[in-house]
Symmetry: C2
Subunit: 231 residues, 2 copies
Amino acid sequence: MAEIDTRLRILDAAEALFMEFGFEATTLRQITGKAQVNLAAVNYHFGSKEALIQELFKRRLAWLNEQRIQALDRLEAEAKGAPLKPSQILDAFFGVAVKMAGDRVGGGRNFMRLLGRTYTEPSEFVRNFMAAEYSEAIARFKKALFKALPDVPREEILWRFHFMLGAMSYAISGADALHIVAEAPVDDSDSDALYARLMSFLIGGLRAPLPEILTKSTRNSAGKPRTRKAA
Amino acid sequence: MAEIDTRLRILDAAEALFMEFGFEATTLRQITGKAQVNLAAVNYHFGSKEALIQELFKRRLAWLNEQRIQALDRLEAEAKGAPLKPSQILDAFFGVAVKMAGDRVGGGRNFMRLLGRTYTEPSEFVRNFMAAEYSEAIARFKKALFKALPDVPREEILWRFHFMLGAMSYAISGADALHIVAEAPVDDSDSDALYARLMSFLIGGLRAPLPEILTKSTRNSAGKPRTRKAA
DNA sequence: GTAGAATTAAAACACACGTTTGAAACGGAT
DNA sequence: ATCCGTTTCAAACGTGTGTTTTAATTCTAC
């Protein structure tokens, strides 16, 4: 009753506080206070504050990306080798995330809002860790997008994927930030509506005509290390 | 030579360090060390670390939004009362920002990368301050967008504006974050190309068809039940 | 050239942080 | 009931933080 429970209480409290105040500004005393455990419990169970952060990301991120990959697996099984529709791919990737962000009770909401901010986080160890945790899912989705959009330069797809992550991040960070543009309070409680809005936007952006600057020639002299040669 | 210069040196050093490490993780000793001024100079010239941050945002943000408003003024003067094209409006708003982000020498690059992260910053005083500094420009651009897109619900325009800010933020945060999706190093040195990429994406997103869920009735259970059937 | 204000400099301050310690309380097995 | 490994607890530790202080220095004006 009191053993593994302490770990969970710490993780949940930390998640909520990190998302509210950020990593640096959140203290272990806040966390242990909110979790109603002893201060030393964090270092006992996790080793350090940094290790706590990693553990916190691990438990959610592993699950999240597993769900994404499974969704993609199902789509590809159905398609039987045919390229997927871009909207299906985006749905598999972003749908899971937005759904998780809509989960208020399980704490997924806190985590997703934290995650969006963390993606551009300065702290190096966090970014490296994220890159490692993401790598498998990212590789799978990149491959699917390349296949679904054979006539779009791969570099362009990556950039647009990057932009889409930004839009998603802001979408999830929600009304807290939106109130800057909206002035009046905005309803962000309906995650189905949010998802519909976001998805229209993303698909519009992904399928937008290529910028002229790219359709002409690769406007650069230096030979870029083109990692993949054959396709 | 040594009076106002100290202020500037502190501001520039702080900008670079905040963008590299974040607000909390950057210490006054780092700042004054980099600026080659005495530690006490920050509190003498600015009063506190918090006031330094505000001053830092003020000097750039005021200029940035002024440029944006002037660009919009020019467009509207030319149009003589006719609605602008959405792409023109986006160009006025995001073009200035990306240009500033491409300015490596003046320090604008550091600032813009910092700004993108700060928009979703947890710290309340920063967010409130940002909202105040942005309010005039945001109001003008909202009005222009409403006029340019009379058949799109205003709430939808606000959300899409919000998404666009997210995409821009990630675009500017640049290769540091992109390397997570790209694995191989990515060239983000060409701000013209970056801007062309971003703008295609944004216009595609802004002009995307409205989500079904919104075209029917305002918003209720009908539409696109993804995973949860809403009875 | 000198008084007076503005700025810089060095040192210390009070405090909060993450972490460590050593003992107390607990839990299950024998 | 006793033991032993695990977990909790209160207290303290060392360090680094933003800030303040007090004196030295530089600048400005007469």
